[in-house]
Symmetry: C2
Subunit: 137 residues, 2 copies
């Protein structure tokens, strides 16, 4: 095995490992936008709604670096009650999210399915521990 190749390989690994750890400091936690969305769905549309929401939240987390979390859940005892934990790196990331094709598709498709919608702005109680919970921080 060539010695130069080994040195190059070592350097590449050091740099790539380092990058993974650097992610921690990518965000300024004081600028984050945190929201708990409370959504009630018309029962006849539930299955269709869940499928559209799943597609939209997956695309947002996969494609948008500023979307730290769009994590959708439903209540076990009342599956029409949806809750979404949304965390954006900052207001810019949130506004960019509203302009994406996947969000626009979700919004127009699900308009008739939503019975009620509350967007509740939240504050983190412990911003320092968030990097231990969320991957992109």
């Amino acid at each position: 095995m060539n010695k130069t190749l080994i040195i190059v390989l070592t350097l590449v690994l050091i740099i790539s490992c380092g990058r993974e750890k650097q992610n921690h400091s990518n965000f300024d936690s004081s600028k984050m936008m945190i929201r708990l969305s409370e959504i009630e769905i018309e029962p006849e549309y539930l299955e269709e709604y869940l499928s559209v929401l799943k597609e939209e939240s997956k695309a947002s987390v996969e494609l948008e670096s500023g979307v730290i979390s769009i994590y959708p859940m439903y209540q076990k005892e009342n599956s029409n009650q949806i809750r979404i934990l949304e965390i954006y790196a900052d207001i810019k990331a949130y506004l960019a999210h509203l302009e994406t094709p996947h969000f626009k598709h979700y919004k127009t498709t699900t308009l008739k399915m939503v019975k009620s919608l509350k967007l509740i702005d939240m504050s983190a109680i412990d911003e320092e521990t968030m990097p231990l919970i969320f991957k992109k921080i």
Copy 2:
């Protein structure tokens, strides 16, 4: 620089980088316990409550491998309204959490501060995307 040393260093880096990525498959998502706790605090105890909760949630995430998320927030427009996103690897991790000194301290200390408490069991809508959001999955 010694060639053997370079080879050893390369192997150590490959193994340590690989380990970081293996974390993804540590949990069986079908066994996860997901909960949104809705807690209202007596206003006169709010500051004290936040301090105890912060300490408890930080210790849980730092010390318990089965605690994927204990993420506490308060409503911006009504700071007495606390919400906590709790995700445990499985029921065993949850039961172990209840026995930790930090949880027991939280529970006994905050009993008089809590005006109301609702523990709402949730289901994830997209388990497959959770590893992109949560660090320990």
